[in-house]
Each structure stands twice: as C-alpha cells, then as structure tokens.
C-alpha cells in the first residue's frame, strides 16, 4: 500500500494492527477476523451508538500529568491507561496507540448484559418469524446470551402487524430500536418518514402521521433490520430462509448495475436482495428491482418457440431463423438488455450476413439521484464494447423505419425489443419478415414469423457492463421453461448455421475467445471474474454523451464530521 505512511497502529487484544486513521473498531477488529457483535452499527449509515452491543474496553498510552512524558512499564513498553467503563467499538475511531480489548471479561459481561436486556421484552416468536435463521438477535443470543431468563415479569405489548407502506410490514414487539431503518430513510433514501414515538422500553417505531414508507428504497429497511421487525410484505410467511439457495445476480433495471443476490428453492425464486459492492451500490437496491423475478413466471411469458405462430421445437425455430437470415435485406435490432456474450454473438451474425443496419433501443427514465440512473438499459456499454453498435442508441427506430419503407430492409431480427414500442408503425412491421428472440409477449412476438422463446436474466448466466464500464457477472438462479432456449445458445447456433463454422455457445467458452484478442477484455475469463466485477478501460467511449445523471456519482452519506 502506497499510503503506508498514513496508517496508524492500534492494538486489538494484544495484536498490533495498521489501519487508516478514523477507522472504527468494529471494522478494525474485522480485519483481524474478530467479530465485535453489533446491531445498530451499519457500515453505510451514521453511527448511532445506541444498542451498546459492541462495548469493548478502551485504553490509551498514559502520560505523566506533571511532565507530560509517556509512562512506561518496567519492561519499557508504554503503560496503557484503561478506561474504567467500557466504550462502544462502533463509535471509537482509530487513534495512534489506541488499545482495545474485545474479549476481556468486562467486554463479554457487557455483551451478555445487553443480550439479556434485548430479550426480556422480546416476544421470542422465532417459530413464526421470517427472520429466523438470519436474525442477528438469534445468533448473538446463542453466542453471547446466558442461556436462561431471569425475567419473570409481564412483557411489554406492542403492535404486531403494522402496514408501514405498500411493501413493508412492521412487528414492533420484535424491534430492538436500533434506528437503522430510520437512519436509512433519513440519510440514504432522503425520505424521512420513520421515527419512534413514546419513551423508554415503550418506544415504538412508527410512520409519521399521514406518511407511509413508500419510497422506491423502502425494502432496504427490511434488509438492514437486524431482527424480524421489518418484514417484506411480499416475502412474509412464504419460505423459511434456511431452505433458500442464494445466487449472485445483477439488477437489470438500469445502467447502475446494482449487485444483487437472488434466493430460490426448487426452481422458484422467492426474493431478490442487494449484495454489497462499495464501488457500485454499497449495500442498497431499489424496490423495483426486487420485483423483476416475477417476470420468470408471469402470465405473458413466452414458453414455446413458434414458426408462423405454430408451436415448434427450439431446434426447428433456430433452423428456420437461420434460413430467413440468409435471404439478404436483414436488419438487426439488438438490445441493451442483452448480455455482453449475446451481443458478441449478435455482432458475429450481423458481420456474417452483412446486415443492413444494427440498432438498439434506448430507454431513459428519471434519475432519482440514488441508484436509478437515466439509462434504463443495463448493458448499452456492452453493445458498444462488443462492437455491435458504434454509437449511442436512439429511443426510436426511425432510421430502420425509413429503410423498411424504402424496401432496403425486408427482414428484421429483433432480440428482446418490441418494434412497435421502438417506434415502428404497424404498417412497417407488417411489411417485413420478423424473427424474434425474446421472453415475453408483445406485438412483435405476436407478429413474428419465427419466434424463439429465450430466457430471463434469472435463468442464464452472463455479464453486463455498467455505467462505470464495470464488467459484472450474473448467474443462473433457476432453470427456464421447457420450451425455451438459452439466448446465447440460440444465437451461437444461428451463427454456426450461417457461417458453417462452430461458434462458442456457452458463456465460458465464448469468454475464451473474447478474453484473448488483445482487446479491453484481455485476460478476463468468466470464471475468474470477481463478484465485485472488474473495471474496464472505457476511454475509447469518452466522447459519447451518455445520459446518466447524478446517480453515476452515487456517494454513500459519510458519517457526520468527527472531531480531531
């Protein structure tokens, strides 16, 4: 590390550790693999210091009052003056010579005390609680609790199922009053609607009068709630979490490329949660992105390939598509929703047949200043870097329309894009032969001469390139419907049919090709690509006027200024 000079040495349980100044002790201890248990501390929120679970012993090298000289032990080591009471690790910042004890009797005793206090009025309804299995209170009770209760009084009674908003339900009895949810709303979502009413042990989390927790980030409160107080109304009582298998994915809603983790059991997806990536989305994601899994089993899902609207096998549909594409006068409508790999395959096809034009459809929305950028396509940069297109897309396929009208284009191969929504008229669409590869019904799919039913992002693996030119991967969570075929396989097979040469039809094998060619992708393989993604050199596209908005510079709210 080049910043070595700036690091300072602290001592944790007798072990010296170099950390940046100002780092808090929960994080510092984590570097040594020591967990200082905590509830209210969250790495991306301001320090509240209210749960008191992270209490540790604190000491500083002593100085002689009279002389100001450092005090030393007999063996010449600095004499550490330990504070009489414990201090919170989350609120203690690294300072030169700082010593902490995380596992001294005093520290352990404090944890046991806090655990007991948190449990006395807790309903202990784990058997019916969604959080059970991933509950911090459960975990710390078993690791730091005394194992029996000394409390024989009546427990407090609080509201059990409060609707905080369209997506969040609150059980106040389970709330440990850590204020994470409140801080999230204030500091990240910028929508202050939560607060405590009443005092002391009767404190109750609630929405401000006349308000509801309805912002597009509301479900993050559920993620960060350390207990089962805030629950997702969608996920509530649906599945025990220990049955869920988790797979890393990417939120396809926008060019931000929010990192996610998708939980599924036996072929069914139950929820989507954010995955921490400090370079991209910290620990947050929009609510809207969590709904995307519903497309997998939606009613308008295409589950069957067709030729002239008659059901057929994927093999036949692909063969028919290849045949149509050989006829000349072909234009290709690719998509910013496609993976990098699919865009490479599409590029190969378009080059091979000498396409009359390759288009994408831009999708723009309002930049919300958080994690929803203006660009609502997850992978326009992938199309640029794969060379599929060499300019930013328009929102309308006007040029394609003109080429159809002039008779230059007679066949359109559209991947994922509805041509009508893209601005072609029904008349124009009616004039051409249509090959459509997509996942959901739309006008184009219903008019397609050849329809290839593809897979959603949850049913395949691949990569996308976000607004920072960060290559990020997503993985298959569940298998797709029987009648559908993986998009990359379909495209690769078409390309093989057209060229007479084999084309890699899996993500892994395709990357062997992409990763070698002295390109920006050099040295990258799908397998080795880290879960945090890899920043690519996007300088070749610097001159493009990407429309992104503030969220490109999304910065987590830093902790309020600390004193020197």
């Amino acid at each position: 590390m080049e910043e070595k000079e700036n690091l300072i040495t602290v001592n944790i349980d007798g072990q010296d550790l170099q950390v940046p100044p100002g780092m808090n002790m929960v994080e510092a201890a984590a570097i040594l693999g020591k967990e200082i248990p905590h509830y209210c501390y969250h790495p991306k929120l301001t320090i509240a210091g209210n749960c008191r679970m992270c209490l540790v012993e604190l000491g500083m090298p002593g100085r002689d009052r009279a002389t100001g000289e450092p005090m030393v032990n007999k063996d010449g080591t600095p004499k550490i003056m330990w504070m009489p009471g414990p201090a919170i690790g989350c609120g203690t910042k690294a300072a030169p010579g700082l010593h902490i004890k995380t596992d001294s009797p005093k520290a352990l005793e404090s944890r046991e005390a806090v655990t007991e206090f948190l449990l006395i009025n807790h309903p202990l309804d784990c058997p019916i609680c969604d959080q059970a299995g991933e509950c911090t209170l459960q975990e710390f009770s078993s690791s730091h609790g005394r194992g029996y209760s000394r409390f024989i009084e009546q427990k407090n009674v609080k509201p059990k199922r409060t609707r905080l908003g369209p997506r969040v339900t609150l059980d106040d009895e389970r709330c440990v009053l850590c204020s994470r949810c409140i801080r999230f709303c204030d500091e990240v979502a910028g929508d202050s609607v939560l607060g405590f009413t009443d005092r002391g042990s009767y404190s109750t989390l609630t929405c401000f009068p006349g308000k509801e927790l309805a912002n597009n980030y509301s479900l993050n409160t559920v993620d960060i709630c350390p207990v089962g107080a805030l629950t997702s109304t969608d996920f509530r009582f649906k599945m025990r979490v220990w049955f869920l298998k988790e797979t890393n994915s990417i939120d396809f809603e926008t060019s931000v490329g929010v990192n996610t983790v998708v939980s599924a059991r036996e072929g069914t997806i139950y929820r989507v949660k954010p995955r921490r990536n400090d370079q991209v989305n910290d620990t947050w994601m929009p609510d809207s992105g969590r709904e995307l899994y519903k497309q997998v089993e939606s009613d308008d899902r295409l589950i069957q390939c067709t030729i002239d609207s008659l059901a057929t096998s994927a093999v036949d549909a692909i063969a028919k598509a290849s045949e149509c594409l050989q006829g000349g006068g072909v234009a290709i409508v690719g998509s910013g929703q496609c993976s990098v790999e699919e865009q490479f395959a599409l590029k190969a096809i378009s080059d091979g047949i000498g396409a009359k034009g390759v288009y994408l459809v831009a999708r723009y929305g309002k930049d919300d200043g958080i994690l929803m950028s203006v660009d609502r396509n997850p992978n326009v940069r992938g199309a640029l870097m794969a060379g599929l297109v060499n300019d930013l897309p328009d929102e309308q396929l006007g040029e394609l329309g003109a080429k159809i009208d002039s008779g230059e284009v007679t066949t359109v191969f559209s991947v994922k894009e509805d041509l009508i929504a893209g601005g072609l008229t029904e008349d124009q669409v009616g004039k051409v032969k249509i090959i459509y590869l997509g996942t959901h019904e739309n006008t184009t799919s219903s008019l397609a001469d050849v329809l290839i039913a593809g897979l959603t992002q949850f049913e395949k693996s691949g990569t996308v390139i976000n607004q920072q030119f960060r290559l990020q991967k997503f993985s298959r969570v569940v298998p797709g419907p029987g009648g559908a075929i993986e998009d990359l396989y379909a495209l690769a097979t078409i390309q093989a049919n057209l060229s007479g040469e084999s084309f890699p039809s899996t993500v892994g094998s395709l990357w062997k090709q992409i990763g070698t060619e002295g390109s920006v992708f050099e040295g990258i393989s799908f397998q080795s690509l880290s879960d945090q993604g890899e920043l690519l050199d996007g300088s070749a596209f610097e001159h493009f006027s990407f429309r992104e908005g503030k969220s490109l510079h999304f910065e987590p709210k830093k902790e309020a200024l600390a004193i020197e």
Partner: protein, 454 residues
C-alpha cells in the same frame, strides 16, 4: 418571607423581598444591568479569566468548572458559537431555577448576555421546561423590556456586539435536561442524547456548531463574579466550591424550601435552617443532590482522606454542604435538590417510586437504560405489591450493575445509583420487606396494572 440568618443570599437577594417585581424598572432600581454596562467595556478574555479564576462550578448537575468549559469551545471551525441556558429543571426535588425565572428574570438575562458577550456567542437560547408556561411568559416579557433598553439585540449598548435571546419551551421530558438531548430537542427533534465522542457540545453542539450549555444558576453567578471580582467571589464557600448554592429541601423536615447558602454543613441546612425532622420523626436518610444521586444514611460514618491528605470521619450532619464534601461522602451535590426521608418512609417503596419515574423518562435509545429501568420498575412494583421473591434483591443489584457506565448519557447512572446505594445501605430492610410482603399474599391484579401501565 424572612430569610434565615444562616442563609447567604446573593442570587436570591431580591427575589423574595416584599414589593420586588420581575419588571425591568424594579431590576434596574436595584442596580440591574450595571454589570452588563461594565462588561461591554471589558476585554472578552478578561471576563472569561474572571470566571475561570472564580472557580465557579456548574450548578446543573455535574459541577464542571464553568470557565474551563468556556475555554473548550472550538474557535477554529469558524462556525458561530451558541449559548444555551439550561432551564429544564427536571431533576426530581429541584425547584431553584424556577425561583430565579419567576421572580428575578432580568438577573438571568443579564447573566446570559454577559456570558454570551464574554464567549462571543452569536445567539443565546433559554430552554425552559414545558411545565413552566408562566416562566416562559415572564422571560419573553423581560427580553422584550431588555431589548427596548438595548441590553439585548443588535449592537448592545453601542458595543458592536449583537445577541438575541430565544426562549424555547421544552418537550416535557426529563431527558430534555441532559445537555445533548436538550440540543436535539432545541433543533426540533426527539431529545435523544448524542454520543460523545464525537458530539461534545463545545465542538459539535446546536446545529453542529460549538455550543456552551450552562444552568440558570451558573449563568446568574457570572454576573456576581463580575460585580465582586473573582477573588472576592472565591472567598465565599471553600476553595474549589466557591460561591453560594441554592439548595432545594423537600420531604421530612419542618421547613422545606429553597435556601441559598455557602460554607455550611448538611446538618446546619437540615436541622438549623429547615428545622430538622417533623415532630415525632427521625431522619432516616438523605438524598443530597436530586433523585439520581446516591443516598446517605443516618448513622452512617463517612471516612476517608481529603485532597491534602487529612483524614475525616463524619456523621451525616457533619458533611460539608458542597461539591467536594458530598463527593467525599460518596455521593454528589447534583442539582441541589435535597430529599429528606424520615422514618415513615419505607426505602423499597421510595425506590419503586423512583424506578417508576426513571423507566418512564428513559429516552429509550440505549438498551441497558431502556430495558433495565423498566425491568427495575417491574421488580420494585411487584415487590411493593406483595409479590416479592427472595432473589429480587440480588437480581436488582445485578440489573443496576448491568446498566451503570454502559449507556450513552448519564441517565444510566441516575437509574443505577439509587438502586445500588439503597440496596447497599438498606439491604436488610429490602430483605425484610420482601419477606413480609410476600407472606402477606399480594394483590396480583394491582401489581399487574402497575407493572404494565406506564
């Protein structure tokens, strides 16, 4: 009202004089605002030095030296500095600030403006207890009068210094008196005390600006320090315990009330001034500085060595009635609210009463205070209602120990200290009480109601 000869009234000098009214004319007739006139002609630092040299200590609770506190103010940040007068007066047994505010408001205003001038504060706030509506009215009227005479507001007395005073009525909770809770409340938020570090008022106080928080009585003293000079002032009382203090005595004495004294013993206050216990009663214990402080038991011997190494051996009435004296007896002078418990009081009942208060007033932020205080209330209430268990005494002690020193603010101590000290000094009574009341067969319904009905 006659003033007891052992009293030494400085702050309350005029307050109870017949015919003395809270308006500015009356105040000025008695020499009011002369010190402000003097102050604006002085070097600011000179005033600060006077306050420091006077050894004035805070009258709000912790007894921190006021001059030292002022010197901590962060001047490097370039942010405005605020003066906050803590008039929340919510510590049970304390009713001194209200005398000043109701009877001699201009003294406080003069004290605030002098202090603000000395520390170069941009604005001053008086955070007044919600339950003192009349006091707020009086203060607002007084500020209006003072503004008319240019003692408050722009370019005070042509000095070039401007300072407004804003009266803010509190949010009606005990915790609003804790300085960082007060600041939050003043900002319009829930009075949740802030964590220190980093939110020391002197650095990150009101609106994240450096802020001085002082009690009403503390700020009034500044005026008298200027009048007498630090040296004269420091001659009142003992070194490090300078100036008078207004003690509020309640409970089992013949003449409860507020008394401004200096340099006397606890016995002199309770027996000579307050007339001792009511007829036929004896004093059982004394809570010296507001309900949060550790209890002192009659008959106890208080021994130890003072700063100079001299040994002492006091009975309760020998304890010097000041910060260091009461601290030497193992308690604190706190807010000056002295509660005398006579032999009609059952200590466990007194504790139950206190725990009902503290569990109700905990802000609820930090786990040990929030949960511990209500737990203690539930145990003590149950005890009082005849459902005591033999292990309750040990349990209460353990719960209190689990709170002490593990919380955000000193409220945690305020919950723990009574429990710890009552149990330590009256353990036999607790055990006997538990025994007796559990045998009686308690009224379970009443216990339940009390425990669940906050």
């Amino acid at each position: 009202m006659s003033v007891h000869p052992k009293e030494q009234r400085i702050i309350l000098k005029y307050a109870d004089e017949p015919g003395y009214t809270p308006d500015i004319d009356c105040y000025m007739k008695n020499g009011g605002y002369e010190m402000l006139k003097k102050a604006v002609g002085m070097e600011k630092q000179a005033i600060c030095d006077e306050v420091k040299n006077s050894q004035l200590r805070g009258r709000g609770g912790a007894g921190f030296p006021a001059g030292v506190k002022w010197s901590f103010v962060d001047r490097k940040s370039g942010k405005p500095v605020y003066m906050v007068c803590n008039c929340d007066e919510s510590e049970p047994g304390t009713f001194k600030d209200r005398q000043i505010v109701h009877k001699d408001p201009h003294q406080l205003i003069e004290g605030i403006i002098i202090s603000s001038f000395a520390t170069d504060c941009a604005k001053a706030f008086i955070y007044i207890r919600e339950e003192m509506p009349k006091g707020a009215e009086i203060l607002n009227q007084a500020i209006k009068e003072a503004k008319e005479k240019n003692f408050v507001g722009d370019d005070i007395l042509g000095s070039g210094y401007s300072c407004d005073i804003v009266v803010h009525r509190g949010a009606a909770a005990y915790i609003c008196g804790e300085e960082t809770g007060l600041i939050e409340s003043l900002e319009g938020k829930r009075a949740n005390p802030r964590i220190k570090p980093p939110y020391f008022p002197a650095v990150l106080g009101l609106y994240m600006c450096p802020t001085i928080v002082n009690n009403v009585e503390t700020l009034c003293n500044v005026l008298h320090i200027l009048r007498m000079g630090a040296d004269e002032f420091a001659k009142i009382g003992r070194p490090n315990n300078t100036g008078t203090r207004i003690w509020c005595v309640s409970g089992g004495v013949k003449r409860p009330g507020y008394y401004e004294v200096a340099g006397i013993t606890l016995g002199e206050l309770v027996y000579d001034i307050c007339g001792g216990p009511k007829d036929g009663r004896t004093i059982k214990a004394i809570i010296p500085g507001g309900s949060s402080m550790k209890i002192l038991k009659s008959g106890e011997r208080f021994t130890g060595k003072d700063r100079d190494g001299n040994g002492y051996d006091w009975g309760i009435e020998d304890i010097p009635l000041d910060y260091d004296g009461i601290a030497a007896a193992g308690s604190m002078s706190g807010s000056g609210g002295m509660m005398v418990l006579d032999d009609s009081v059952e200590i466990p009942v007194a504790l139950a009463n206190l725990m009902a208060f503290y569990s109700h007033e905990s802000c609820g932020q930090c786990t040990p205070c929030r949960e511990g205080s209500l737990w203690l209330k539930k145990i003590t209430t149950r005890m009082v209602h005849g459902q005591a268990r033999p292990d309750d005494v040990d349990l209460m002690k353990s719960v209190a120990d689990q709170i002490e020193g593990r919380t955000i603010c000193a409220f945690g101590f305020a919950v723990a200290w009574p429990v710890q000290s009552y149990l330590a000094k009256f353990e036999d009574e607790f055990r006997e009480f538990a025994e007796r009341h559990s045998r009686m067969g308690g009224d379970r319904t009443a216990a339940k109601e009390l425990a669940c009905n906050h």
